[in-house]
């Protein structure tokens, strides 16, 4: 029964033409799809990874993770953007970045009780202690890491809303810092990025 049905068009010339036309149409469709596939492959062939870090903190310790990760990712050849907002802006602030501080208040891992850590002058001492450790360990300074990031093409962005909120001026930031950007810019980059981090 089924054999008969399959054989039937072969015996019938007009039906054979239809089949040939169908095959031709299918071939064209396959070619078209193959082309689309190879175009898509070319588009995604750019396997450069990218990372966006949102840096929200500006204490001496917390300024490190974004800069270390950004410079290392740049060493991998990734496209890196660091979006600085709130206290994270201080990392890019030409004056304030040289004087980032650390407090033992609220940090129970530090060897100073909160009651003492909150006395006047204690933050200065804690910061001095931390700076000495950084020097002794030959850990790169924030300035060095910033220079490295700029040299390696990391895009440093400063959130416009918080620049205004903190009453900073756009000229307060290092040359090369991108200003005039907001949450939508950050999100757009994050959507396309392979790695997104909030620090």
């Amino acid at each position: 029964m089924s054999t008969e049905t399959e054989d039937a068009p072969d015996a019938d010339a007009p039906a054979g033409d239809t089949e040939a036309a169908d095959v031709e149409a299918l071939r064209e469709r396959v070619d078209e799809l193959e082309q689309q596939l190879s175009d898509a492959a070319v588009e995604t062939d750019d396997d450069t990874k990218s990372m966006v870090i949102v840096a929200t903190k500006g204490t001496l310790d917390m300024a490190y993770p974004p800069l270390i990760l950004a410079s290392t990712a740049a060493a991998f050849g990734w496209d890196v953007t660091v979006f600085h907002t709130f206290w994270g802006l201080d990392i890019l602030h030409e004056e304030r970045s040289k004087d980032l501080k650390l407090s033992a208040v609220g940090n129970p891992n530090m060897p100073v009780p909160n009651a003492i850590a909150s006395l006047p002058g204690m933050d200065r001492m804690t910061t001095k202690m931390m700076r000495k450790r950084i020097d002794d360990n030959e850990t790169a300074s924030i300035g060095e890491l910033l220079d490295t990031c700029f040299d390696m093409g990391v895009e440093m962005q400063a959130c416009q809303m918080t620049i205004d909120l903190m009453d900073y001026d756009e000229d307060d930031f290092y040359d090369g810092v991108t200003v005039g950007v907001g949450a939508a810019t950050a999100l757009e980059r994050m959507a396309d990025a392979d790695v997104q981090l909030l620090v």
Binding site: I68, T72, A75, F76, T148, M152
Partner: protein
């Protein structure tokens, strides 16, 4: 010929801590030509894992060898990075 004598250039990152050994290696590699061999000498013990990870994740370079050496009582970590042809 040992890798040490084969090296096109030596990068001294002794004393430097994370992330500088990796970052400086990358910067040194950028100044080299295809086929060149870079010797990186570090004191950061983390560089053993970090340079390995960096080389695996970076196009155009391969880690040929790594070794721990004693240099006058100081342990140094030596990495040989080849710029691929």
């Amino acid at each position: 010929m040992s890798l040490q004598t084969d090296a096109t250039e030596t990068l001294d990152v002794k004393g430097a801590a994370c992330p500088m050994p990796v970052v400086k290696t990358k910067q040194a590699v950028d100044d080299l030509s295809q086929g060149d061999l870079l010797e990186v000498v570090a004191t950061d013990s983390g560089s053993m894992s970090d340079i390995d990870g960096w080389a695996s994740g970076t196009d155009g370079v391969s880690l040929v060898d790594q070794e721990e050496r004693d240099e006058g009582g100081e342990t140094v970590y030596v990495h040989y990075v080849q710029v691929e042809e």
